[in-house]
Amino acid sequence: MGKLRTEEFIVNMGPHHPSTHGVCRLMLTMDGERVVNVEPYIGYLHRAIEKICENRTYPQCIPLMDRFEYVTAMSCDYAFSLAVEKLAQIEVPERAEYLRVIMLELNRIASHLLFYATTAMDIGAVTPFLYGFRERELIIDLFEMTCGQRLTYNYIRIGGVSRDILPEFVPKCREALNIIKGKLSDYQGLLNENPIWKARTKGIGVMSQELAVAYGVSGPNLRATGIKFDLRKDDPYSIYDHFDFDIPIGQNGDVFDRYLLRLREIEQAIKIIEQALDGIPEGEYKTKIPFRFKPPAGEVYSRIENSRGEMGLYILSDGSTKPVRVKARGSSYNHLQVLPEVAKDCLIADLVATFASFDIIMPEVDR
């Protein structure tokens, strides 16, 4: 029997498609069920945040940074504040640093829970979606208690944080962490040993170390390939060097590793928060900055490790109240760029799984 003659056809996936988490558009060249080529089209959420920042004062930029990456809005606030603090060499009180670390790590947990929810959903398990959101609400409650918002916090400001935590924050936080710690085994029990889940994720979407580094892949996706690189340890910022925590790494760089790694990162984040809660010092929670705040002329590229990878901010200042240029670097930008290389010649279901496991969030790509 000769080879069956088949014809390739093009499927337009998105910009409105359940599995693209927003508005990514993928043009798939398909041969039956097999995806021959993927071409991402982006820009459906290009809101020109960088342009807007050029006409805002430095403190006014922070709310926009919330919307730059709303799932871990705290880390964007922090990245911007850190960049400006580096630019103007502002000292931050230690209490503020502790509060920031607590919030950043809580937000990391929230983001990873969202990842757990949406990835499971994309691979067809609906119930973990709801479970992930259930525990996420506990963390959202803590944020709401502290800064009054559920999603876009505007909490971490230049020189500190916007307000001090309430006295009941610490016990509530511990309670929430204990609940999450208990539920983590539930999550893993639901999926880790499930043969269908393993068949769907093991050995799928494998990314090699060379490919990852060449395309600037960072965060859990990089660590899943086996490279132990975490900016919290390797380019320390804030007070992360005060805490004792591990950097979990994967081995194969497949979907399963990326999934498991994030669950293990939740454990580590809980560990950091518990240490931080024990050690919150008394004192000021912010340094006063002048109303018309003018950092000196100069430029800085500062980077932090948020839940998706390296979140970088380049700020060019000319000494006035407004920045000349703000360039935000979201890790999803690189992750989406590497998708065509990773998802070459796979089935459409694998493409969805790979896309989900990268934890791409579109505003970070489009800005």
Binding site: T127, R200, A349
Partner: protein, 353 residues
């Protein structure tokens, strides 16, 4: 006459039949009218069952996911699906310009009809059967296959790539899973010695250890193979790839709206009930049970099987298309046939009780 006998519905039907006779019907007219009447009763009953199942599915999913499900329409939203149905009746019937007209039109109708037709031979209770065909189970296997044609038609007629992929997937899937399903059903037939549904039920009379599922060792295996294959036949998670929401948006029914969509939707749930009904008849002793009337036993058992399917759906992730095929051809079919051979040999050697 114990009061429980009063609950049996058979006398009602006998009385109705006699009434028809009394008003002067006879011969073939009597047959036609009585069968038409019975079919209408079954149709009405199943429509109610389908509406109930949709509501139940939403409640089950809600409680599995630690929420409530519909709450605003009556007690725990009991008439929610009725509202959905009325709304779908009213929705505009969007007709895609590029559709294949006849195919697009007939697909939901065939699906709907194919879902109802098996109930001709399903015994709802003692004597409660529309027609006791002597090839009952064979008839069911034959007519349920129409479902796949309708899905394929829907996929083709919609002129939509997602729908087409969904249709192709469902065709491949249903054809593959038909084989282990038939093999597991054959295991039952080897013992019952008859294709008639009533005979199969009667073989399992008595207490529960006479049910086929408890015929060790092949009974439970056949049951599991049947449930797995039937889940795939009914396009339920983990085998719901034809309408995989995250991959194909809504699969074959992506272009259908309003009443046509409702037909697909109801057909899906009636198929699920069919799976339960066949499982009850073949493996769980049909209407047999103690104290309660027979038709109630039938519904209790069937709904338990349906509940099992619902729990599957809300627990498992979805298989990939090649894994799904591999599972059918590399695992289920060998197991089903080995089981069949074992059962046949034991029957031959009379090693059973």
């Amino acid at each position: 006459m114990t009061p429980f006998i009063l609950l049996e519905l058979q006398p009602v039907f006998v009385w109705l039949y006699n009434l028809l006779k009394k008003i002067g019907l006879s011969g073939s007219w009597l047959t036609i009218v009585s069968y038409a009447g019975l079919s209408l009763i079954v149709f009405g009953l199943l429509s109610v069952v389908a509406l109930f199942l949709v509501w139940w599915e939403r409640k089950v999913s809600g409680h599995v996911q630690q929420r409530y499900g519909p709450m605003r329409n009556g007690w725990h939203g009991w008439y929610q699906t009725l509202m959905d149905g009325v709304k779908l009746l009213l929705k505009e019937d969007v007709k895609v310009v590029t559709r294949d007209k006849a195919v697009f039109f007939w697909a939901p109708i065939i699906a709907f009809v194919a879902a109802f037709v098996p109930y001709v031979v399903i015994p709802f209770g003692k004597g409660l059967i529309v027609a006791d065909l002597n090839i009952g189970i064979l008839y069911i296997l034959a007519v349920t296959t129409f479902m796949v044609i309708s899905l394929l038609m829907a996929g083709w007629g919609s002129h939509n790539k997602y729908a087409l992929l969904g249709g192709m997937r469902s065709a491949a899937q249903v054809v593959s899973y038909e084989v282990p399903m038939v093999a597991s059903i054959l295991t039952v037939i080897v013992f019952s010695g008859s294709l008639s549904m009533v005979d199969i039920v009667n073989v399992q009379s008595g207490l529960f250890f006479n049910w086929f599922i408890f015929r060790l060792p092949f009974g439970p295996i056949a049951f599991m193979v049947y449930i797995t294959a039937a889940t795939a036949e009914a396009n339920r998670t983990p085998f719901d790839i034809p309408e995989a929401e995250q991959e194909l948006v809504a699969g074959y029914n992506v272009e259908y709206s309003g009443m046509k969509f409702a037909m697909f939707f109801l057909a899906e749930f009636i198929n699920m009930f069919t799976v339960g009904a066949i499982a009850t008849t073949l493996f769980l002793g049909g209407w047999h049970g103690v104290i309660l009337p027979s038709w109630l036993w039938f519904f209790v058992k069937t709904l338990l099987v349906v509940f099992l399917l619902m729990l599957f759906r809300w627990t498992y992730p979805r298989l990939r298309v090649d894994q799904l095929m591999g599972f059918a051809w590399k695992f289920l079919i060998p197991v089903a046939f080995a089981n069949l051979v074992l059962a046949g040999w034991m029957k031959y050697a009379r090693w059973y009780w």
